[in-house]
Symmetry: C2
Subunit: 122 residues, 2 copies
DNA sequence: GTTCATGACAACCAAACAGTTATATAACCA
DNA sequence: TGGTTATATAACTGTTTGGTTGTCATGAAC
């Protein structure tokens, strides 16, 4: 009956995307699965550091780990990206609705202005 | 010639979106401009805390401050949201392209399977 | 069975974050 | 002028983050 401290999944999702290393890892995994070592190679950073980043991405649901002998290949899961895009789109749409309303208001003001101009012209 | 430590604007953008308080503030501002006090009201949090959140949103380009006497009304700027949505869409598209390629591969394997089945049937 | 390779895990550290209270600034109002 | 309101700024604090090194577990290969 009482959601503890909430902890919206969007928190973890956007936080995961807020780091350039993690975005690069994600871009790499969008191309296809890869091992930790492969993912770590491009970065001037230790393997445990990359593993930590992977854990963040996993907590956000963007990455899953498989098992293949001693490797643990990671693959990307795109579903949460849709969640994020939806959330962003919601803000944008509310904003646009109200922006449009402002536009209409400005149109109306302009129309009134025209009217009063005509009045003076007569 | 030497980009300092990079600091991608997407960092600030996604980081700004990664906090539920800030998302709520943004949702409120999507409806129209509001003062700091108005924005702070719904939260069990001091006014300086909200001002800090606003500063984060401003650094991300999502919010701007106006001047009206002693108030400093905030309004939302939707443009960076499009940036974020684009970035997300890029990941999704790369992923989809490769996912589709995997689908084709599976189709081909299934076809081969059918072939060999036919072979045995003869 | 050693030995090598992959990767996880723990302990540690510095810097950044998210909140607090207290204080300053600046505009309005009487 | 002095008081009140709106907001910013500063100083402090506990927690989180992003990295390090060192060690351990597991599976592969000789």
């Amino acid at each position: 009956m009482n959601a503890p401290p909430s902890s919206d999944p969007l928190d973890a999702l956007f936080a995961a995307l807020a780091d350039p290393t993690r975005r690069a890892i994600l871009a790499r995994l969008a191309e296809g699965e890869a091992t930790v070592a492969e993912l770590a190679a491009p970065f001037a950073m230790s393997q445990p550091a990359v593993s930590k980043h992977l854990k963040v991405l996993e907590r956000a649901g963007l990455v899953t780990a498989g098992v293949d002998g001693q490797r643990r290949p990671r693959r990307m899961n795109a579903a949460p990206l849709a969640e994020a895009a939806d959330a962003i789109e919601r803000y944008r749409q509310i904003w646009e609705r109200n922006y449009r309303r402002l536009d209409v208001l400005l149109e109306e003001m302009k129309a009134v202005e025209q009217q009063s101009r005509k009045g003076r012209e007569i």
